[in-house]
Symmetry: D3
Subunit: 321 residues, 6 copies
């Protein structure tokens, strides 16, 4: 009997005992003449998902379990319609005594949130222009707590715990390179743009454990781009910085133009060198991370990843040279 | 000899003496072997434009006259390449003694600016919700002085002195009708949306006597939609209104969504009933005014107006029933 | 036991007896080893829909009931997969003695069809130009009977009994306002355009009780826009009006251009002031009615309406001030 | 001295005497200190165009000559800015005694109009279905006189005398082939569609000698597609054919759908096999004729034709194998 | 009892015995309390498909049958949810002794593959230019074996056994007609373009018995257009033909441009007369075949075909005159 | 008198003597009654352009000078219509004795061509996979000589001497950074993609001194993307590398997909991680270079660059912090 084998490693016939996260749960009924309740589940750990059926679910069971609940499961791995599935034999909720944490069971960025936040804060501190630094810092403080967990998007890219912070950090690295390669770029502005461009996403989206559950009312009615622009105004007023200054103008512009086109959500198009750079740094990091993330969850024996919506609905090929 | 006949009424062979505005001026040289200076002009009054040539221009003349300068002209109306043109015989700058004002010579809204401003202020005062009213009032005060002259657009529609105020006033009329017809609409929100939707245009565009000369740096880099959104934030902070309140959320949304689509400049799409109404009220007023304005400047003997860019580059037919 | 409670008001555990309309019906079989027939139903009244299961359906039952059939039902309201559902205990077809009418059970315009038809007829009679009036009248007579029930569209807007007549009446109100606000518009033409623009819809679409079941062959192969244009020709010929007259030209143009763009179905673009007005009046009324209709069917405890296809697939927010 | 050499054959230094058509004419003035009138001309014959200057034009000359006027010219061919140009020495209007006709000087289809009209009439007579034949014949009679000269388009394709009739005849040939190749197509319908599809173009466009001068009011406000559809209705009424018959339905559909997409002007999309065939036959004939016409006017020493707007603004390569 | 009646002719109550192809097969389980295995099948012959259920499937049965396997079936035709379905009573795999072949049970072009291949080879031999002929022949030899079965597309058109060869042959017929009608076209080039344009499809797509199962890696990463272009290069090198010659240039261009637009997959747009012709010949043949194929599978009592994706998602009308 | 002052530094009233490049030249005639020849010129050096007039041009002068000819000019700088212009007093062709070279007078990359070529060759040598290296080397050798001067585009970006080599070198730098940041990328493939992606541009475009004069026939009919793909095939055949190998497949794919979308010229979309990276590296380098190049030619006193077509026709703002 395998104890807490990672889901990725399960195979037909395995008997398992271990802790899992309930990602989806639905009470269903068999279509027999006397319908019978059962639970249709998706179990998850940090390595992936597997569907499961609990045929002997009682009324109490149906009321006990819920999405994002940690459980201990005993079961049997079977092949059903060409896919692996767990037939649940016993299941109970995890207790404090089990000593496990939900964060062990969810997908997250390859670097820890604490470290990511710390790198971003160093970048903020390194901004040489006082007004840029204090405005960026003001905005960052608004979401710092949420930043630990916030994903960068619902499903497109960096859609996991710490995804947004990770996206910012990688973009900062790329920005530094580009500023070295092209000294006519203003490093303060570009770094500020990187940190501010998606800064309102943790308020635009309602997420739990790195998974976006919904968009907030503000998110739907204003959108993260305009929210961030308004935070800059708020920061300038509260910090006593002239709203008409070129610094404030530039920060607004960087945020507002970073989606490049109107149909992608930007009310103005890039018209500062740093705004042009910001858009392409953002795009490149997002697209490459989509590919890297997809490679991570594509089984070793598959030649092609699943379809990636953000890459024109194409699959990516795992070329062997 | 006709004294100050309106340009619209001039005909071949007329001898004229009168005051005109120089709308365009360029010093040119004949291509003769000994090139000679002359002035190529466009003269204007409130009824239209006419081109003019001053063949005997001296060096002093060339330095004396400039665009938007009022002049007294004696000349002869001639047909040249199927168009009327003034052959200038004498020309001098108007002086204080002439007792004329530039505003008599420019195109302007059919209702006086003072009256338009006053109607808008009444509408603001009629807003029953205190927070809506004070925010709208705060934003309006920012541009009230410019509002007298500001056009609503560079060339699309209401492109004349007082055009923006006139656009707002006609939209307020339409809003009142729609709110009576459909009581589920919130009249305060819709009226606020009407007043705020283009409120930043006088700062987005640099205009003189109702003609847009250029866009400001803020106008290009932020755009009037995001500028107005930021003014709402500024107003709320300075008036002590909760930035998270639904009132503030709604006002942001009305302004941000009024262009309807991303490719038309709106970062979010209408998601309040009043935002849907605002977009169509704005569109209907702008499009019908384009037609009405074009009818005004189309000669009586023409069946078709010039091409109207904002109406899919179509001409409008002057149907006789 | 609740007698004929409106569907909108039902709750878990209610026992009901009442009359309902069968909106959808399908005979299904359980997946048990000895499959058993049952009826899967959607019951409706004017307040909404609810799904229902009749587990004890006999072969006779399966042959007896059909879509749009009125029935008397005894049943039990239960929660199934988070939704209310009626477990049917007894069901029979309604009879003449029950004294009920299908029109009591369907969704319909907020104003009665008779009144709407009468308002449209008054508007026709008020047309001052004889040729306009007789052509409009000729076309209206073609569909007057269907106009009582005809919806304005399959699902986009005014998709209910009397929807088309209601759409026309609201547009007439808006037209009157616009003609007062902008006297350069020809009121006869605009009103004629409003009445004619969708006049062929009752023939384009096959509808029953205000619900579109299908498009007719003519509807698919010619479309309501070209059909109405051809009716104008037919009217002119039969009424002895010159086919080359400006009146006929204008009426054709109003109908043909009212969808504004080629990709929206209009073979020509608006080139009369009244055609520009007609398009925006049509658009504004349709869009605002979509919102108002959706508000009507959104449960009180929901903040957002369902997605509205005709509004860029957006939901509308029910803002509380 | 070369007498009436074709324009295509002129070269630098030629002295010419001959008859030409004035295609364009403008009275201009030299920019010398004492401006002097001259005539700026474009002369044409069936082989092409050449620009010309008449420096010694008197006031009488300026009033004498006009566009589409036949003239006898004596002149000298010179190179000016890398192009050939005629310096006019003497010019007079052609008289009856000169015994020349304007049709000798314009571009026209490679087959004579009489022959083309006769082929189309034979095709109409060959239609086996009486109702199809009489409707097509009715519509054809409306424009038969104009059909001799009418071009098929303003500039896209077949833009010359008899161009429309030639387009129809070539399409009839292609239709016959396709009907033989695919017997499931109804030959009567396809041939009727070919003859009717552009039948209203001679009324949509105002042309002279095969050159489109303008669009008619009907052309702009209704368009040739809807005009032809209305002619079918008129024909059916006047011929006593049931407006609801499938024949009438099919003819409407063929005409209305032949531009294939809404954005190309068709209010409905092809939904009959013959409508699908008609669109592609029309497209293929138009596109190939564009190429063939352009080859005809491209000088022998050029490898590439001028840009062809109807072929995505591409030039076509004159490949030598 | 009907023996091997074509599926198209089956009706309710028929008892059948005959050979069929298993097109789809899935082992399912009843939802009864003790789930029971059964087989859910789609049976096919050359006339169409029918679904079937084998309720008494044993474990052995489940392992025995697979997609594309030929079987002998005894069963009963029943109506289920308004559709015919076979209740399987007995089923076994066909054996060699049964003397049947899979090709008798699949959909295929109306002309036999051998004949089609032979016509194409004659066309190749008839190419008068040696270099054109040898290059075309080289490319054709690469896929000649696959060409017997290869469909022309996954589902759009000619999606059956021999479909590609049939498409080429019909296009050759059309090419011959067009070259006769327009002698300025180079017949060698056009015929070569027809044969080469889709020549790499048998390698781009993985198909079995005329049904596309997947795209190959080359197909996804290079695409049939660029693959064919590269085969031309390969042919030229191996045949010693100058890569810079106009022949090679023209063949590349014909292949590369035949989809006409970038968004349809062509990196260059047609710029040779023959390339323009090729595109429209390809489009016309594909579109008309879609219609003809759909007519073939639409039941006689249906007025409209199913939706055809390649014709703007429209259905085609089966008009009765 | 200023000797060979850079054009950028000229001011009104300067008398100059120096060497310049004739960039444009046209013989014109004055419009005086006795027309007189003169030369209308654009003079250039590495710092910019200035227009010039030579009023005393003789027939011999007109035949002597031509575009791209180096001349010695004596003249006077004057303001004409608000722009500086040179009134030429004396002009002669430069001779060998003058010891000047055309390359001193043209715009070129900031790094010398020799150095750029050498860097690219080092990058090729550093490719660890033998097949990748030899194929890349084979293709590079085809254009190595042209690579010294070839621009990367006609006007979009890097449109100067050595522009293409400079583009490749900057992209190599960026590639190296990205490969370090994301080790899952194959460095050989990405570097190969960078070197090959525009490798056929020197053959697609006909350029002189870094300025594109025209596109070649191959360039128009095949395009640089498909040309490069065919060179890979040629290389593989001549180097004996398997055409079906994954290496060859990957190199084809990188080249073919680098424009990302069909409408931008790529017949396939990126489906390898390195292809995704290549597209964004290419885009970022091109866009940032456009900005940097425009900054270089924008006068110091201008706040905004000229419009940049490749950046959505926007100007870029020269922000002063």
């Amino acid at each position: 009997m395998s104890i807490n084998t990672l889901i990725k490693g399960l195979k037909d016939g395995d008997e398992i005992v271990g802790f899992y996260l309930i990602k989806e749960i639905e009470a269903k009924q068999t279509n027999s003449s006397i319908p019978k309740d059962y639970l249709d589940l998706v179990l998850a750990d940090s390595s992936g998902n597997i569907s499961a059926k609990y045929w002997d679910a009682s009324k109490t069971d149906i009321e006990t379990f819920f999405p994002m609940c940690l459980v201990k499961v005993q079961g049997l791995v079977q092949v059903y319609r060409e896919k692996l599935q767990v037939k649940v034999i016993r299941i109970r909720k995890a207790t404090e005594q089990d000593g496990i944490s939900i964060t062990d069971f969810i997908r997250s960025a390859p670097v820890g949130s604490e470290e990511l936040i710390s790198i971003i804060e160093q970048a903020i501190n390194s901004l040489s222009n006082d007004e840029v630094r204090t405005i960026v810092s003001f905005c960052f403080e608004k979401v710092k707590d949420n930043m630990h967990s916030s994903p960068a998007a619902k499903s497109h890219h960096h859609a996991y715990y710490g995804g947004l912070a990770y996206h910012i950090v990688r973009m900062l690295e790329l920005s530094e390179f580009i500023c070295r390669q092209r000294p006519f770029l203003n490093s303060d502005l570009l770094k500020a743009g990187v940190i501010l461009h998606d800064i309102a996403k943790p308020v635009e989206m309602v997420s739990e454990y790195g998974m976006v559950i919904d968009y907030s009312n503000q998110g739907k009615l204003i959108g993260h781009i305009s929210m961030a622009s308004n935070w800059i105004t708020e920061a300038a007023i509260k910090l006593g910085i002239d709203l008409q200054s070129n610094i404030v103008l530039a920060l607004h512009h960087l945020v507002l133009s970073h989606h490049n086109l109107g149909e992608w959500g930007s009310p103005v198009q890039p018209q500062l060198p740093e705004a042009v750079a910001l858009h392409y740094i953002d795009a490149m990091d997002a697209k490459l991370q989509m590919v890297e993330d997809m490679f991570g969850i594509t089984p070793d024996n598959e030649e092609w990843t699943p379809i990636i919506r953000g890459l024109q609905n194409k699959q990516i090929f795992k070329l062997k040279l």
